[in-house]
């Protein structure tokens, strides 16, 4: 981390293309309406290309010019320098003009005044934070010439220690999204922010006390914003603020975070529908995963995870023991569990639990009691409030509070409240005509409001509606005013992390499109309407920062947080017991079909819809990309007479929506999970038209699960799933394994192929070398060779992946996207297996698909020493470096694809068409200048982040020293919250990676092919409860 920031730090120069773009006088006119119509007809399923063909046309430019005069290219940095030139020229270069062809003349734009601390070609890092209702994520952002080019967690922040998640990684593309709204409008006409601010002030002044002025905001996470709101309230006491976040309303988060879990000391973890391992949708994800995974790394310290959940998540599938229950059964089950561990005052429901469920309950209760004070029960966010209360009561009864469950005194979200009630009241006021001005701040209620409130018609009863949003979205289209919102990387703010620490959100770049933040809106009503968010934030923290303010402020910006703001340890609070009075709801009828609503693991509540990386990301467990779906169990599918990919009509209380149906192994029967966030109509060229809108059947009364029904419709949806789970119907003669309800892939991977190797703790203790035993699983004998081995004397790069730690959360994949300029290919291309992700997480469902165990295996180029791919390349475009990297030389590749065929791991990715976007200006600003953008016809693959290796080597050579262990982190390693990935020099016997690779549990995938991969996997060791283990699990690879 170096340097500091001040308010304005855009590179020199000013808008350059204004005159030029004005001069373009097109022959044929085209309106943006026509463009939108055209895009709509493409249903968003054809990704960038179709749009870009359109966008490149002069008609389109003219249309933009007409509607947004002079602003379309405002952000084009006139001082584009080498880094960009590289990218722009790359299209030409990779189009084959290498060899003996002339290069075109390239211009250099010199600075007029160069910023003093800028060294061109060297990145700078700045601390900031990504605000989120589940707790802000402290970040360290890499910038190149003051353009953010990579987002990662702040490695020094005690909360996440540098890890991040899919949203944080995807936020980069969100910043540079070319579809962001670019100008303030009033009834479709361009206006300026100042006009809006003036109107708002005028209205407030007219109302005197703020009567008729309503604000509808997404959950407010900024203490400064809360402070500003309180000031507004003081000035205009009748002004109303409603917060509503579709994925937050109704959860404990709307009241602020109350419980924090500390898993470091938890030997037994019980999840009550809490998906705390799969993504930042669960508060404290980064810390929880880290603490969970730390205990998984050493078999001596294994914890044990039980999961009782309503839909299979990575948490459930990582658990030693998982019990799939329908969502409505979980509160009752939690009550039974509370009773069993001795919580007083819990009434048990009369419910017909199965023997298996009873046995599970008894075992969990026994285990919990045996580990009192060293166990924890984690409650799900999207469950009935009673579950949280019961979990708290259990933790309390077991003496876990203060040890593994910490109760914080102050809420992390500064303005807690009942969001759904507030929203209902707002709709009532709208319908009553009380609302003169409705200012919507970073929310999209037209799209995401509960269906029963009929928000869209209530909305029209407001006299003036203003919308502050990053996109001209569904709400933006309906609102009178639309103000482009600044991205969090473009504006000053502040936020609290899960652990309570305050982070200053400092901008990395001037707003690309002149966006404003909610701070500006509230400030516009106050005495100093022009006070910048920067000053407002400083004002908030002046009383908090101790000592000299400027020094403290600088330190806060530099390190990324304000000291001594973390919440305390907390104590056992008597308040928890009172919550038990809330009634435990009875489970629904066993035959009724429950529909469960969850925020999407990739695009959350829809706010990340237009981020191509996240849309294309195969979702954990389902591996579904570009869509949401009705997730059902195999038995339910059969019962309803459906096939996968059929279109079904989901009905809840008479409201209907059409969805594709897919099977998820482990889904409880008669239970349908749907993810929110899809079916957007104005998300942008990426998100519009993908999936179906589950909000259409979600009501205020049943935000997380409801009784509904499924009906088969004609036709197929055409979902894109990156991995199949064929049923294994082979007979024993042909090496068949299971009962016929097993996954063929998993049977193959776990048995003879030895791709997944694991043992239980007992097995491990009996046979610590289990991972390298059995036919075909032996370690490679390096001396058994026809030709002499190559010597790798200096550095020898290698990687170790801990199978016990990886939870399959996907953060690594998105990190890889951002670091390596990987292109998005679109749904149709994903459907035929052409996704370009260099890294994928292979998911294998072991055992009966109705109740499987899953194995998550991150799979990228293994950098084999005897690489089969290299030998077959006719032009030597993929070769080995003296340090053992399997290098792909893009500019030499002619695209025979032979290497891909000969790669046993199938980790090579090919540009079948021109996938990279060489045209869109904003995306050029985003890309990593140290990595070539690949053009059509070129193979690409994981490079172990060779650009980082090169940079580190140059630094080390300059300083005349070896590269230090840990100096090079690959992008996936950096993002991983579980620290499952370790990279380094395996020749340095003291390095972490060498020690891990020397571990007896370390194995190479497909070692019997003698490819000698440099990536090794540490076999998992599970810690099952012997009482729940029916029979010794037969999976030991030693069996052969």
């Amino acid at each position: 981390m170096s340097g500091h920031m001040n308010g304005s730090k855009q590179a020199a120069g000013n808008a350059v293309d204004y005159e030029k773009s004005k001069a373009a006088a097109p022959e044929t006119a085209m309106t943006l309406e026509a463009v939108r119509a055209e895009l709509k007809s493409a249903k968003g399923k054809r990704y960038w290309r179709s749009v870009d063909e359109l966008a490149g046309s002069p008609e389109f430019e003219a249309a933009v010019e007409k509607e947004f005069p002079g602003s379309a290219q405002e952000w084009v940095d006139p001082v584009s320098r080498r880094g960009f030139m590289k990218l722009m020229g790359a299209s030409m270069a990779l189009a084959g003009l290498a060899g003996c062809t002339k290069q075109p003349d390239e211009p250099i734009y010199a600075y007029v005044k160069q910023p003093e601390d800028l060294i061109l070609g060297k990145p700078m890092y700045f601390a900031t934070a990504m605000p989120s209702a589940t707790g802000a994520l402290p970040l360290l952002v890499k910038t190149d010439q003051f353009r953010p080019i990579k987002i990662d967690g702040n490695p020094e922040h005690p909360y996440n220690l540098g890890s991040s998640d899919v949203f944080a990684q995807g936020a980069l593309l969100d910043l540079y999204d070319p579809d962001r709204s670019q100008h303030a409008t009033y009834r479709g006409e361009n206006r300026e922010w100042a006009e809006f601010a003036q109107e708002l002030r005028k209205k407030a002044a007219e109302s005197k006390d703020g009567t008729g002025i309503y604000f509808l905001s997404s959950t407010i996470t900024s203490p400064t914003l809360a402070r500003q709101w309180k000031a507004v309230q003081a000035a205009y006491p009748k002004a109303t603020l409603v917060q509503y976040d579709p994925a937050i309303a109704g959860t404990s988060l709307e009241k602020g975070l109350s419980v924090q879990y500390a898993l470091a000391d938890a030997d037994v973890i019980v999840s009550l529908d809490a998906d705390f391992l799969s993504g930042a949708a669960y508060p404290g994800f980064h810390k929880l995963v880290r603490e969970y995974a730390d205990r998984r790394k050493n078999p001596e310290k294994l914890n044990r995870l039980y999961s009782i959940d309503s839909t299979p998540t990575t948490t459930g599938l990582k658990a030693e023991h998982r019990l799939g229950l329908r969502a409505s059964e979980i509160p009752a089950f939690a009550a039974e569990l509370a009773k069993a561990v001795g919580v007083a005052g819990v009434e048990s429901q009369s419910y017909n639990w199965t023997e298996e469920q009873k046995k599970f309950l008894a075992a969990v209760a026994k285990d919990l009691k045996a580990h009192a004070g060293k166990s924890v029960v984690i409650s799900g966010l999207h469950q009935d409030a009673s579950v949280e209360a019961l979990a708290a009561a259990i933790n309390s009864a077991l003496g876990n509070v203060g040890k593994t469950a910490l109760v914080s005194a102050e809420p992390v979200n500064p303005l807690p409240g009942d969001q759904a009630a507030g929203f209902k009241a707002l709709v009532a006021d709208l319908n009553a005509g009380k609302v003169d001005w409705l200012v919507i701040l970073n929310a999209n209620p037209i799209y995401s409001a509960p269906a029963d409130l009929d928000f869209a018609s209530a909305f029209n009863k407001a006299k003036i509606v203003a919308h502050l949003g990053s996109h001209y979205d569904e709400t933006g289209h309906e609102a009178h005013w639309h103000i482009p919102a600044a991205h969090f990387l473009e504006s000053w703010s502040d936020a609290r992390a899960y652990d309570g620490t305050i982070s200053i959100v400092q901008p990395m770049i001037d707003p690309l499109y002149g966006g404003k933040s909610a701070h500006h809106v509230f400030q516009a009503l106050l005495n100093e309407p022009g006070l910048s968010p920067y000053d407002a934030v400083r004002e908030t923290w002046k009383p908090v920062i101790k000592g000299d303010f400027e020094t403290g402020w600088r330190k806060a910006l530099h390190q990324g947080w304000i000291d001594e703001t973390a919440v305390g340890k907390g104590s056992a609070s008597g308040a928890d017991a009172q919550k038990l009075t809330s009634k435990v709801p009875a489970p629904s009828s066993k035959d009724a079909i429950e529909i469960i609503f969850r925020p999407d693991p990739s695009i959350y509540d829809g706010r990340w819809s237009n981020v191509g990386w996240l849309q294309e990301l195969p979702k954990p467990v389902t591996n579904l990309s570009w869509d949401n779906a009705a997730l059902v169990s195999g038995a339910t599918l059969t019962k309803l007479g459906l096939e996968e990919d059929d279109i079904v009509e989901l009905t809840v209380q008479g409201r209907k929506v059409n969805a594709p149906v897919i099977v998820v192994p482990g889904q409880p029967d008669n239970s349908v999970t749907v993810y929110l966030g899809y079916g957007r109509s104005f998300a942008g060229r990426v998100g519009s038209g993908a999936g179906f809108n589950a909000y259409l059947i979600r009501t205020t009364g049943a935000p997380f699960y409801a009784i509904g029904s499924l009906k088969k419709l004609d036709g197929k949806w055409g979902v894109a799933i990156t991995k199949s789970h064929y049923q294994d119907h082979r007979s024993k003669l042909f090496g068949g394994q299971g009962s016929g309800n097993n996954s063929l892939e998993a049977d193959e991977a776990i048995s003879e192929r030895g791709i997944i190797r694991y043992a239980t703790l007992d097995e491990f203790k009996a046979n610590p070398g289990f991972a390298n035993e059995g036919p075909g699983h032996e370690k490679t004998d390096k001396d058994n060779t026809l030709f002499p081995n190559w010597d790798y004397k200096d550095n020898a790069w290698g990687m170790s992946i801990d199978m016990n730690s990886c939870t399959g959360c996907n953060a690594c994949i998105v990190g890889c996207y951002a670091e390596n300029n990987i292109a998005v290919v679109g749904k149709q291309q994903v459907r035929i297996g052409r996704n370009l992700q260099w890294l994928r997480i292979d998911t294998y469902f072991e055992g009966d698909l109705a109740a499987p165990r899953a194995h998550f295996q991150p799979m990228a180029c293994q950098h084999c020493e005897n690489a089969p791919c290299e030998q077959v390349c006719p032009v030597g475009a993929t070769v080995h470096t003296p340090e053992g990297l399997n290098t792909m030389v893009y500019n030499r590749c002619v695209g025979t694809r032979y290497c891909s065929n000969n790669c046993p791991y199938k980790v090579r990715r090919y540009n079948f068409l021109l996938y990279s976007d060489f045209e869109t200006e904003s995306l050029k600003l985003m890309r990593n200048p140290d990595v070539s953008v690949r053009s059509r016809g070129v193979m690409e693959k994981c490079s172990y982040c060779v650009q980082r290796i090169s940079a580190a080597k140059i630094e080390a050579d300059k300083e005349n020293r070896p590269v230090r262990d840990g100096e090079i982190q690959t992008a996936c390693q950096q993002a991983c919250p579980a620290s499952a990935i370790t990279f380094g020099n395996i020749n340095d016997k003291g390095s972490r990676v060498a020690r891990l690779q020397a571990d007896e549990r370390s194995y190479q995938v497909l070692a019997d092919l003698n490819t000698r991969p440099r990536t090794k996997y540490v076999a998992a060791v599970l810690n099952p409860n012997s009482e729940l283990q029916e029979a010794p699990v037969e999976h030991s690879p030693a069996k052969g």
Binding site: A95, G96, A98, G99, C100, K723, S724, Y726, R730, F734, G735, L744, E745, A746, A749, E752, R753, I755, G776, Q829, I832, G833, R840, D842, Y844, M859, P868, Q871, V872, C873, P874, V875, G876, R892, C893, V894, G895, T896, R897, Y898, S900, N901, N902, P904, Y905, K906, R908, R909, Y910, N911, F912, L913, L914, R936, G937, V938, V1005, L1006, L1009, T1011
Partner: protein
């Protein structure tokens, strides 16, 4: 002839030589020359030729359209994907090259074995080779992602100081196929030089005289020339024989050198070569049967030829069957899970149907029926068989390429393959191109080698008695 399954009938014995007759009786030097040269030298092109050429040309435009789109968009217009990164292009490449092999075999190997019956069919079999290689050679070039950089596969000094990578079977292909094409063209052309002389001397129009005169290089039939010519032909034949064996061997290395189960097998070289000859003879039949009918060449391309080709197909078909059998056997005998799973998957996996198409077309139908001389000499049946075998051999390559790739080592990356319209257009287009080229050949070049036919006529016999007398 070595085949002894059925003795020749009496009328098939040439009374002059006492040998099995391959040319109908009553032909003279003059008559064969007239018959063959007239096809080319006649100013009246048959309407049927135009019709067929029109069809061939029209179908070839599919190729043009498909290639244009391919160059504009990239190989992604085809069905190839991960994991099936090779598809129709490689299948067609191997198929076409295989077809070409019969031509070389007939002209070279049968020449070395002094199988004089080859003389009637060797010229158009060679032409078939060349046009098949043209069609085949197209595919490696267009299947690469950046075809404009295809020249990087050639070793030439450059400013990058980089060279091709000689361990790659694809590079071996470059040398094998380019050598094969060159030698085939040279062999074909050298074989035609004396016939060009005949054409020059029999042509009426000045232009034809001039053109044929130019390409005949002034051939005048000197005994010395003939001796050197014969030596060169024999040497070329002697070189073409190992060449033709090596070419499909090298092509089989594209697969055999890879680690993929279903590819990584040592049976491939012989089995590919046999398969190539198998399909090549089928294609010769496909061409010869309509041609001899159309141009009334039954006297030169007799039932005997058809019969012999049937026998060759029977023999090569059994080698191919042995190859298939060996694959299955080794899948079991190797006790390798990769192999046994591949075989199970090939037979019963989602694309198992293609394996059974291949077994039906290549083994079940031809190998049971070609034993029958009656069927072997039945022209419609042989035409049918030729189509069946060509289909079967195409599916053989489909099975090898696709069903090995779509489910390989890591089950997580299993996929599928479904050809697109561009795949089909490209394939069908090459059939059109082949037809058009072949028709041009038939129209403008002597399709039966006149000088070699003359050698087989009774008049070519030198009476030893006279020579002996004169020698005194």
């Amino acid at each position: 002839m070595a085949t002894t399954d059925l003795k020749p009938k009496d009328h098939e014995i040439d009374p002059a030589t006492g040998e099995y007759r391959v040319i109908a009786p009553g032909q003279t030097f003059k008559s064969v020359t007239e018959k063959i040269a007239r096809i080319v030298l006649t100013p009246h092109t048959p309407l049927g030729w135009f019709a067929l050429f029109g069809v061939g040309g029209a179908v070839a435009t599919f190729l043009l359209v498909a290639l244009t789109w391919l160059f504009l968009k990239g190989t992604g217009i085809w069905a190839i994907s991960q994991p099936v990164a090779w598809g129709f292009a490689i299948i067609n490449f191997v198929w076409w090259i295989g077809i070409g092999h019969a031509g070389t075999l007939i002209s070279a190997i049968l020449l070395l074995f002094k199988q004089s019956w080859r003389n009637s069919i060797n010229r158009f079999a060679e032409a078939m080779t060349i046009f098949a290689v043209v069609c085949a050679g197209l595919f490696p070039l267009i299947h690469i992602g950046r075809p404009w950089l295809g020249y990087w596969l050639l070793p030439y000094p450059n400013t990058m100081n980089v060279w091709p990578q000689f361990r790659s079977p694809l590079l071996w292909d470059v040398f094998a196929v380019s050598t094969y094409a060159t030698i085939s063209v040279v062999f074909w052309y050298i074989g035609m030089v004396p016939d060009f002389g005949t054409m020059r001397d029999r042509a009426d129009s000045k232009l034809a005289q001039y053109v044929y005169g130019l390409v005949s290089l002034g051939w005048r039939g000197s005994a010395r020339h003939w001796m050197r010519y014969e030596t060169a032909s024999l040497l070329l034949a002697g070189l073409a024989t190992p060449l033709v064996l090596s070419v499909h061997t090298v092509i089989s290395f594209d697969f055999a050198v890879a680690v993929l189960p279903g590819w990584h097998t040592t049976i491939f070289p012989p089995y590919f070569v046999a398969g190539a000859i198998y399909s090549g003879f089928a294609m010769v039949l496909t061409l010869a049967i309509p041609l001899r009918k159309f141009y009334h060449l039954e006297g030169l391309v007799t039932d005997r030829h058809i019969d012999n080709m049937g026998k060759v197909m029977l023999a090569t078909g059994f080698i191919v069957a042995y190859g298939y059998g060996m694959e299955v056997f080794m899948a079991w005998y190797s006790a390798s899970h990769w192999e046994s799973f591949m075989m199970w998957n090939r037979m019963f996996g989602p694309m198992g149907w293609s394996y059974w198409v291949l077994i039906t077309c290549n083994l079940a139908i031809p190998l049971t029926t070609l034993w029958s001389r009656k069927l072997r000499t039945s022209i419609p049946y042989m035409f049918f068989i030729s189509i069946v075998v060509n289909t079967g051999m195409w599916f053989e390559r489909f099975v090898i390429v696709v069903t090995s790739l779509y489910r390989d080592f890591l089950p997580s990356s299993w996929g599928t393959y479904r050809a697109t319209k561009w795949d089909y257009m490209t394939y069908v287009g090459t059939l059109g191109l082949f037809t058009a080229l072949f028709l041009l050949f038939v129209r403008f070049l002597p399709m039966i080698p006149m000088s070699e036919i003359r050698m087989m006529l009774p008049g070519a016999k030198i009476t030893p008695k006279k020579v002996a007398e004169a020698g005194d």
